[in-house]
């Protein structure tokens, strides 16, 4: 081993011993026993009693923050969503502004002002948007009749009218609260049968969806 290595070892040992050497001062035992005998120091964190629940301020603040986030998510977040005004398509469009304002609007249900036939109109529009096959067009017409919002025959989609908008985009734009109020016989049409490629609506017989 070289002299330099010896020297380095010695310096390291001395430095380490400098940093760890020493003993507690005289009377250490007495000070410890005095601290033990003294009443426990009150916790720096104040405990709040809420109806018998003992919570710390941090827990309370966390719960409050979580509640605030939840309220924001439920009440305000839909308003922050990107506008659902879609470019004109052969089958029609889902226009947030129009739908929210007009009679029979599906979006009206968001504020609790759902009108009869609102949800079927939504389903109908979605079906028209992606382009309907024969069965899809039938379900759309049925929905239209139910809602009382019969549109001119040429206003709906046809088997040939394929939308340039991918169904996935449409699915992403349908807000969950609208989905929840869709009548049960229509809901599967609007949601369950959306695939990556197209919306498939099962044929309808006697006003009921056949599964």
């Amino acid at each position: 081993m070289s002299e330099d290595t010896h020297r380095l070892d010695r310096i390291v040992d001395e430095a380490l011993q400098d940093l760890t050497a020493g003993e507690p001062r005289e009377g250490f035992r007495g000070r410890v026993m005095a601290r033990i005998a003294a009443p426990p120091e009150p916790s720096p964190v104040r405990i709040i009693d809420i109806f018998g629940w003992r919570v710390r301020p941090l827990q309370l603040a966390t719960a409050g923050a979580a509640l605030a986030v939840l309220v924001v998510a439920v009440v305000l977040a839909p308003g922050l969503w990107p506008p659902r005004d879609l470019p004109s398509s052969p089958g029609g469009r889902i226009a947030r502004g129009e739908a929210a304002g007009g009679p029979g609007s599906a979006l009206g249900t968001r504020t609790g002002a759902a009108e009869p036939g609102a949800a079927p109109v939504r389903a109908m529009q979605a079906a028209e948007l992606v382009g309907s096959t024969g069965g899809q067009a039938q379900s759309a017409r049925l929905a239209r009749r139910r809602s009382g919002n019969e549109l001119p025959a040429d206003a709906g989609g046809s088997a040939e009218s394929a939308s340039p908008i991918p169904p996935v985009v449409i699915a992403a734009l349908v807000p969950p609260e609208d989905i929840s109020i869709v009548p049960i016989e229509v809901q599967p049409v609007a949601i369950r049968d959306i695939t990556i490629q197209e919306i498939q609506i099962p044929p309808i017989e006697g006003g009921k969806v056949k599964r």
């Binding site: 020297r7 380095l8 001395e14 380490l16 940093l19 760890t20 020493g22 033990i36």
Partner: protein
């Protein structure tokens, strides 16, 4: 009186028995705290806190490890918590400790040599403190001479083999750093 008897008596509230335990382990506990904290005052405060906490948690000691290892683990947790506090960390690197003055030069050394030696040791101490914590802690705990490798493993919660490796690697890194700045070369 054996340690087990002292523990049993302390559990029943015998303050003298616990005082005897304090007396037996005070240096090891203090040095474990000292390994984590630069300040001697902080180390002593943490050592006291550790003994108080051990007294209050004595019922939780099941004897799976030795009382000393259990006590040192408590000490280390307190010391680490204290070390995490940012202002203390700042103090650790900036304040000078009145009880950590370099030893006076021996009469045979000239004053110039003594100054050089003191400067070297101070630089070496700084280098130690700049090591990654996982190496520094092991090096300092081992250097205190109060803890076996198994105890150090118990304190840090790592296997003894890891302790050995960190000890060797930490020392190697420290020497490499010192050599890089020209310390150790004549």
């Amino acid at each position: 009186m054996s340690e087990t008897e002292l523990i049993e008596r302390a559990r029943t509230g015998d303050a003298d028995a616990f005082g005897e335990l304090v007396e037996r382990h005070r240096v090891a506990v203090y040095r474990a705290a000292r390994a984590a904290l630069r300040s001697a005052d902080e180390a002593e405060d943490v050592a006291q806190e550790a003994f108080v906490a051990a007294y209050r948690k004595l019922d939780q000691f099941r004897g799976e490890a030795s009382f000393r290892t259990w006590l040192l683990a408590i000490t280390w947790n307190f010391a680490r918590t204290r070390r995490r506090t940012s202002w203390l960390r700042l103090q650790r690197f900036t304040s000078s400790d009145e009880r950590q003055v370099a030893e006076p030069p021996s009469p045979v050394e000239s004053s110039e040599d003594a100054l050089i030696q003191a400067d070297l040791r101070e630089q070496a101490r700084r280098m130690v403190m700049m090591l990654p914590a996982k190496f520094r802690d092991v090096l300092l705990l081992a250097a205190s001479g109060d803890h076996t490798l198994e105890e150090i493993g118990g304190i840090l919660g790592i296997p003894t083999g890891t302790v050995k490796w960190r000890l060797s690697e930490g020392r190697h890194q420290l020497k490499a750093r010192l050599a890089r700045v020209g310390i150790g070369h004549e």
